[in-house]
Amino acid sequence: MERRKEELEKKRQKLAELRRAREERIVATTKVQQPPLIPLSNNNTTAGQAPTAERSRRNDRNEVDELVNSLLNKNDKEKSETPVTNTSPGDSDNGSDKGGSSYAPSYVQKPVLGQLSSPVSSMPQSPAIPSARFIPDFTHFETIILDIAPKEKVFYGKEVQTTATSFGPQPPSENEIYEKVKAEFEAEEKARKEEEEKKRKEELDKQKKVQLAKDLNDKERDKIIHSVEFTKFIDYSTKVALRALNETYDIITNYSESADLDSGDEDSLSRVKLVCTFFDDKWSKNRSVTDVCWSRKCPELSIASYNKNPMSMNEPDGIVLVWNIHLLERPEFVFHSQSDVLTTTYSNFNPNLIIGGTYSGQIVLWDTRAKSLPVLKTPLSSAGHTHPVYSMQMVGTQNAHNLVSASTDGLICSWQLDMLAQPQETLELVHPTHAKTDEVSVTALGFPDNETTAFWVGTEEGDVYQANRFDRAGSKAGINQYDYYRGHWGPVTGLQFHPLVGQVDFSDLFLTSSVDWTVKLWRSKSISKPANAKNIISSLHSFEGADDYVYDVKWSPNHPALFASVDGTGKFALWNLNSDTEIPVVSTQVGGGRALNKLNWDKDGRRVAIGASDGRVHVYDIGEMSHPRPDESATLQKIISEMISNTESDTGRYAAISHFYLDKSA
């Protein structure tokens, strides 16, 4: 086949050569016919050739032409046969046919573009050339050369095999893994975006809702304001905010910055400092404080009881307010009572309970966990008190404790706090030797520390008596009618036993205050040796620093020799028996000079709450004075023993003098 191809190639080359030659010849003949053009038209012919040579050459050329023509004709015939011979046995190879037809650049006459079957369409005209040799019939036609690229032949050798394919799951290629991860990541991303979109939408919805709820009209606002939960919320949150506001210490203080020099605090010179004053326009106005008390559990809380407000009849007669040192503007709690509350105390054993003694004789119990109305109260019946209760005290221990209360008709009741329907026991104090009535009108009551049976009562006429709650060996329940603690010439307003402080036991000492402008210190007689005849006991000492009624007196719970008193001129006096028994160590005017009704020390004896008759509660800090020196108790013991000896000699002298006068008058 290769050979054949070569042959064809050769033939074609030959043909091309011949064709070129012929064309040259044609040009030459035209040159001959047009002699003047000769020298210009042909390069091969020399300009100065003889006409004979010209003729002979023309003859030669004719011969050659004939030869060529014959050859051409023959070749032409052969060529025209090729399409037919394609199917001849010699050309059995399929590829050669296509290759053959495509190899030759085919000359296509434009008008007969589709006639590919005659590959050389101009050829048939060539035999006419010799006849019209001298009039060459030039026709103009365009040719398009289609150069079709040969199709690549693919040969399969024996060693060429198809790629091995394995059945079953194919191990993923790196690319596949990459694709997979990418797809997963994209899916995740998409999900995340969707989620975000969703969230944003929700947010928007919410905002829209907020936007919608933004403006409340008056009706809606009123509805909210009237709701119980709002009341609760506002009550609590304002309290919290006020407490926060009352914090005077600035936590952001930077001490490294230059600070203004504070000119020496004058307050530190005077030894008691007013901490705060509790007053509430709504509740405290037009009322008087009847009693004050500190919470044992929460040292910042104090309670104050108030009498009725004559200006406002709609409000409850008696109230108890719970005040917080850190919340000055309003009370923490407000408790109501139907009658004036005359005395109040925290239950020592349950910090939530507050007890009040009222003018009507009822004992009421409030709970800070409950609302403002009492959770429990005693009935108004002959079983309990029917006269004002000015004094009461918790006695006993955590597991066995009672409230002992005394009314002005001389009735002493003891109560169980969780059962106020009925007193546990009652005791009527009667004094058979009393001038007109046998009643003992109790205004003050006091139990020595750790004592639950024997107690002392201060009365309206000024005498102080000892009484027993129960029958005891050698003494009966009720008043000890022989022992008179005589000294006061007016009603006793306060009575308190010495609390147990320091190493020495002073529990037999007690203080009383009275409207006779004095405070008196007494030494109680031992209850184990009751007298059988009238026995007048006089006071150890009388403190006469006040210029008005003395309304209350209280021992410091921390300092054995310290006590405080308040009087009708608005003076708050601090006495220290160890430094001076004649004048108070500190005497301060409290508030606007209104009478001070009650006072009470806080647990550590550092602060004193003072209830005034104008409804104010003042809290004083007594500073350094609250700390006893180590020898305080010993000094006090010495002073007390001195007082005792003085009293004995005094009574002796008094007796002698009275005898002397009696003798004289006689």
């Binding site: 907020v210 009237h226 504070d262």
Partner: protein
């Protein structure tokens, strides 16, 4: 509670010399009571309710998951150079909040008249 009582209860807060404003709103930011002007009120109510919600959420989220009692935001104080913002949220119903705007610069005289 009538709105007069509300005024009464807020009076001591407003009367405090350090307090610049008081705002009561529900948790959506709708104003129930304010002493600030309208623009500032809206701004504060808007921002603070969102802030409060975030804080409440945060407190709950940082709480130990198996704690016997759930933690809860009870009070929020924000100190800045110009203000102190105190927010008291509704601890029981989670419906309202009280905001007190305070001047953080406390001079000594406020302390003097108390102690």
């Amino acid at each position: 509670m009538a709105s007069l009582e509300l005024e009464e209860i807020l009076k001591p807060l407003i009367a405090n010399p350090h307090v610049l404003g008081v705002l009561v709103a529900n948790k959506e930011g709708s104003v129930i009571k304010t002493t600030l002007d309208a623009v500032i009120t809206k701004l504060y109510a808007d921002k603070l309710t969102k802030y409060l919600e975030m804080t409440q959420k945060m407190i709950q989220e940082i709480d130990e998951p198996d704690a016997p009692q759930k933690n809860e935001l009870t009070f929020l104080r924000i100190r800045s150079k110009k203000h102190e913002i105190m927010i008291s949220p509704d601890v029981t119903e989670h419906k309202y909040m009280l905001m007190v705007l305070q001047n953080p610069e406390r001079k000594t005289e406020s302390g003097k008249d108390r102690i």
